[in-house]
């Protein structure tokens, strides 16, 4: 393990990143469909194609529970050295071609093997899980300031046909996060299925509106090659049309399922990252700056390694351009009880999600039972005020809002 040392007036400061080589987990995870393909080739039964799903949703949460949490932070003085280290910069870039390989490999296997419909489905879902992680790679790269990293973000986001993400996320979600206006921040009482119907079209519309505004300022039509959304979509078009031309009509449902599954991974992450959290409006009508208590966090080791520290979400929103290896754990921020792979299945069963998360939300120190501090689904407002407002944790309930 590499140790960074900095000489200061107060003496030497040293830091060893114990996770340094484990960050390569994200490279392995990008190739997860090949785990199922390999097992199928070796053992013969197409049920083995479900192995990637088993790893994602059973092994992942168990590893997070078993390996536990890592609360270590690099010293602030060492952060510039970490940010400059080319090793860390290289890893997200190296995963970009692997996401192409995952989709092409799964498509090849789906069209060349004698599989029944559910074998093809498992392959499409596995590739979708891998390329949902591709959106995460695009997220890490798209936040950076170098042209190379921003271009690679557009390329990797093209694999699951989500090229509008960088603009939508960087310029839309980060500006509006934890407000009722943000289609990518979930509200208390809103199930993930209702959220997806608001988030997926809302994010698409916001990305196009932001890009249209930028290009209009430049006096350029939105239908030009300077449109960064269209640049990414052009890569998607080339890739996915080539797959249909090469492997036949089976690719149409295969790609539709793959794309949707990748989007669904993002929807799942967006759903759990800001559930119910609310920034307050200041007297000038603007929202308060995003604070650490406006994001849910997890320090679970395994999923943080796979996701480039995405789960240290408060620091990400405080410093969106900070690189993954430098993101910090903060004390006293909203915490999820498991990593993302454990929280996703919980979100897919809304009654369980509400049972686990609503009391946790209401007990946060800055909310402390006060419903006015919560981003509530308007359709569920009366019901939730009746449940938590009146008999809330401290009875701190605005009477005018009573059901």
């Amino acid at each position: 393990m590499k140790t960074y040392t900095l000489a200061t007036d107060a003496g030497d400061i040293s830091y060893t990143d114990t996770k340094r080589y484990f960050w390569m987990a994200s490279l392995a995870y990008a190739l997860i469909p090949f785990l199922g393909i390999g097992a199928h080739a070796l053992f013969g039964h197409q049920a083995w194609l479900a192995l990637p799903l088993f790893v994602a949703y059973v092994i992942g949460p168990i590893l997070d529970w078993w390996l536990g949490e890592d609360e270590n932070n690099p010293p602030e003085e060492i952060v510039p050295l970490l940010e400059e280290d080319p090793y860390y910069r290289l890893l997200p870039m190296l995963t970009v071609p692997l996401h192409f390989a995952s989709l092409i490999g799964a498509a090849y296997w789906a069209s060349t093997q004698a599989l029944s419909w559910w074998g093809v489905l498992l392959l499409a879902v596995s590739a979708g899980i891998a390329n949902g992680l591709g959106i995460n790679t695009g997220h890490e790269l798209g936040h950076k300031k170098t042209q190379l990293e921003r271009s690679l973000a557009k390329i990797v986001l093209a694999v699951p046909a989500y090229g509008h993400f960088s603009i939508e996320h960087n310029r839309g979600h980060h500006r509006d996060v934890a407000t009722p206006e943000d289609p990518a921040s979930s509200r208390m009482g809103e199930s993930i299925y209702k959220f997806a119907r608001r988030e997926i079209p809302g994010a698409f519309r916001r990305a196009w509106a932001i890009e249209d505004e930028r290009l209009t300022r430049k006096g350029i039509s939105v239908w030009s090659w300077e449109n960064e959304i269209l640049q990414s979509y052009a890569v998607t078009f080339t890739l996915q049309i080539s797959l249909i031309a090469t492997f036949g009509w089976l690719m149409i449902p295969f790609l539709a399922i793959h794309n949707f599954l990748a989007w669904w991974q993002l929807t799942s992450a967006n759903y759990i990252e800001h559930y119910g959290l609310l920034r307050q409006k200041e007297p000038n009508g603007k929202y308060e700056r995003c604070q650490p208590h406006h994001s849910w966090n997890s320090n679970h080791k395994y999923t943080n390694l796979v996701l480039f520290h995405l789960e240290r979400h408060s620091d990400h929103h405080a410093h969106p351009t900070r690189r993954y290896q430098s993101l910090r754990n903060f004390k006293d921020v909203p915490r999820l009880p498991n990593g993302y792979n454990g929280m996703f299945p919980l979100a897919y069963v809304p009654p369980l999600w509400f049972r686990v998360m609503d009391p946790r939300l209401m007990a946060l120190p800055h909310i402390d039972g006060d419903m006015t501090q919560v981003n509530v689904d308007p359709d569920k407002k009366d019901e939730l005020y009746a449940k938590y407002g009146v008999a809330g944790l401290n009875g701190n309930m605005p009477t005018t809002e009573a059901a």
């Binding site: 500006r175 930028r214 300022r217 430049k218 700056r289 405080a318 410093h319 969106p320």
Partner: protein
């Protein structure tokens, strides 16, 4: 009046002489003329009024 303003969060600098071509602000566009609801184009965390003059 300063012609360079810096985002206190991420270090992005708006230089009036250079403008920001990518964002559609021509060279010579004063900081004051940027939209009032403008946020830092790199981090989107800081508002226009958070920017600090450098020179």
């Amino acid at each position: 009046m300063s012609s360079v303003y810096e985002c206190p969060g991420c270090g992005y600098q708006y230089n009036q002489d250079l403008g920001d071509e990518h964002e559609g602000f021509a060279p010579g566009t004063p900081f004051d003329e940027l939209p009032e609801d403008w946020v830092c184009p790199d981090c989107s965390v800081r508002y226009k009024e958070d920017f600090q003059p450098l020179q």
